[in-house]
Symmetry: C2
Subunit: 209 residues, 2 copies
Amino acid sequence: MSLVDKLKWRYATKKFDNTQKIASEKLGYILDAIQLAPSSYGLQPYRILVVEDPIVRERLKEASYGQTQITDASQLIVFAVETNINEDFVKKYMDSTAAIRNIPRESLAGFEGMVLGTINSRTKEELTTWAQKQAYIALGVLLAAASEQSIDACPMEGFDAARYNDILNLTEKGLTATVITTVGSRASDDDYAQLAKVRRAKEELFIHV
Amino acid sequence: MSLVDKLKWRYATKKFDNTQKIASEKLGYILDAIQLAPSSYGLQPYRILVVEDPIVRERLKEASYGQTQITDASQLIVFAVETNINEDFVKKYMDSTAAIRNIPRESLAGFEGMVLGTINSRTKEELTTWAQKQAYIALGVLLAAASEQSIDACPMEGFDAARYNDILNLTEKGLTATVITTVGSRASDDDYAQLAKVRRAKEELFIHV
């Protein structure tokens, strides 16, 4: 089945089968996809929390308007962005680039200057928004990879980020929760699975120039 | 080849082969993927411009720091978000949902109230940022689908959005350019294709809870 067919198969799963756990190799696969997701300058200004602990998830459910997907799905994945995107962060990335590519650190000076120029021209709030957008690319890639593997998902913005930051100790790690998704298997009686997909018609979505 | 293998194959293509056009059925396929991308409440608060016109692309290249991908790739795809996300926009979406699902319009009153509650609690600027995040999900899905089809891409934030809005008459359409990507085929001499991919190590990216 092609990815497009899989995207037709998927839907925002409202009710998960809480007896079904994703096989560990499949979970590893979708985490690989997140790791490979592109981001601006390749910076990946985020960390990904894979939450399985039932007690933590119970607390997170309360911070998510009681949505049962949080506890019933196989895993909850939290995209948390870096709140300290600064010269140190960029320096570390350049060190890593030089090491992975086995090139002299100095050869990255031009690229580093360009990235720092972008970083330094933005306020802390703008940098956070920018980092969040990158996290949404990773979310899109994850949802595609999960669909490919017949893993159900429910991406969500409906949660209290401040409470998530507290429960997951994100603030002290220099992170803030941005968007979440649950992954697992749809319950056989999730009525939402039967609903026709609503999408803007091609002529209302695309403009050909 | 799995999607993860394809994500390893892809890279931000710096030099496209300007003699290669994407076959129309493949272009249709990746547009299908964009159309199917999920978004908050399913609203899809964006439109997608597929730019082929060489004269327009020449102007857009000037508004993109002269980056040659803009003119050399097979197509330039511009994600432009709605700047008028209001009650009318939501109403139209609910009308469409009722029609597609063949359900009474009144049955959507609760859902509509919830969406309007979200919309009305946000400033115009916050709504635009929110819409942009949704566009980035679609970008992620598109990049996955393009990779699957062995289509090269170069997603870019380095362009002058105000000039794009002007050249593409977006402001008068209630849109603003947010992020772009070129799609096509890598040139055989694009040195960037040979560089090792730099990604955060798993232990620096994932946190297991």
